[in-house]
Symmetry: C2
Subunit: 174 residues, 2 copies
DNA sequence: TGCGGATAGTTTACATGTAAACAAATCGGC
DNA sequence: GCCGATTTGTTTACATGTAAACTATCCGCA
């Protein structure tokens, strides 16, 4: 479809009802990522809610199933995109739903292993098909080549994230 | 920091691989969008924090500046990605910082116009350069062609979002 | 042995995002 | 003119996400 023109006046601009074109293709690309994410997240959030889960809760369960054995809290946190302290409450609520269990490690009493319950395993199995269906529904109209290229570009976009310095920020020296 | 989606998708993909040679690039693309967004959001969040703003607050101010005149709350909400009730608190805090003002419309007393203050305008002007810098920093290593293609693919990905039905959900009739 | 620092989790404080219920004001039809 | 539906915004309840401070443990090393 050659309806794309040479100017960078895209759909996002129309959606946001902006009056002026984007100041740079950089900005346009970044905002496109943010907006696409929001719309995807919204759909997944609703799907998960039908199963009584929030996106974060589903994420934790998927991570635990993927690893296949109990994990310390911080290991879970490191696989989530976000940071630590939220994990506590997250695990609390999953525990209240009997989807995970906490076991304190005997060798290192600081560590608490989080274990997936059978109930959670069944729930996840039940969700697999709808989740895959939503993935296909969201991007199934892109060609295989487009999907591959999209993934490649996003991976490339993330290559520099770690080293990007925030203007006005004092550089971190970990 | 894992740059590949190895962990949380591993088992499902492995299971599917056992049965089919086909691996879903749909899932990969969707997860790439989510992960890229998280990393970008994180950077912008830190930048905004240096100026005493949250991402949502900055968004509201940008929208108000873009429109150039007072806006009703719901008009602002409709341009934000998210939904209505959060706007109230958002405006509350911006008002407390004297970055916006509320004016009740005399003709339709239900409507409350939100106005940008001079203080906010100065703050935004001050932020323009760092924000653009961060945009460039995040995706500046992609070529112009890649940026255009990335935006095109993301826009195409969003084309179907509205019509995607959530598996197990009763269809929406807004 | 025992201290200082590092590590694993938790708690607290605050800003969001989502859903549901609600109040105030306006509009439409009769 | 009046009643009910609609529109606009707010409130309430709950789950996150972020930062900072705190607790319990463990580890290295003198």
């Amino acid at each position: 479809m050659a309806t794309k023109n040479d100017g960078n006046t895209g759909r996002l601009q129309a959606e946001l009802k902006k009056r002026r074109p984007f100041e740079s293709p950089h900005q346009e690309a970044v905002l496109n990522v943010l907006r696409t994410n929001d719309q995807f997240q919204n759909k997944f959030g609703r799907l998960f809610r039908h199963f009584g889960l929030t996106p974060s809760q589903y994420n934790v369960l998927r991570i635990l199933r993927g690893v296949g054995k109990p994990m310390p809290c911080l290991d879970i946190a490191s696989r989530m995109i976000q940071v630590v302290p939220a994990i506590t409450g997250l695990i609390d609520r999953l525990e209240a739903q009997e989807l995970v269990a906490r076991d304190r490690c005997t060798e290192d009493r600081r560590v608490i292993f989080v274990t997936l319950t059978d109930k959670a395993r069944k729930l996840l199995d039940q969700m697999d098909e709808p989740v895959m269906g939503l993935h296909r529904g969201l991007v199934g109209h892109l060609t295989q080549a487009e999907l591959k290229e999209l993934s490649r570009l996003l991976e490339k976009a993330r290559e520099r994230v770690e080293s990007v310095e925030i203007p006005g920020d004092s550089p971190q020296t970990p």
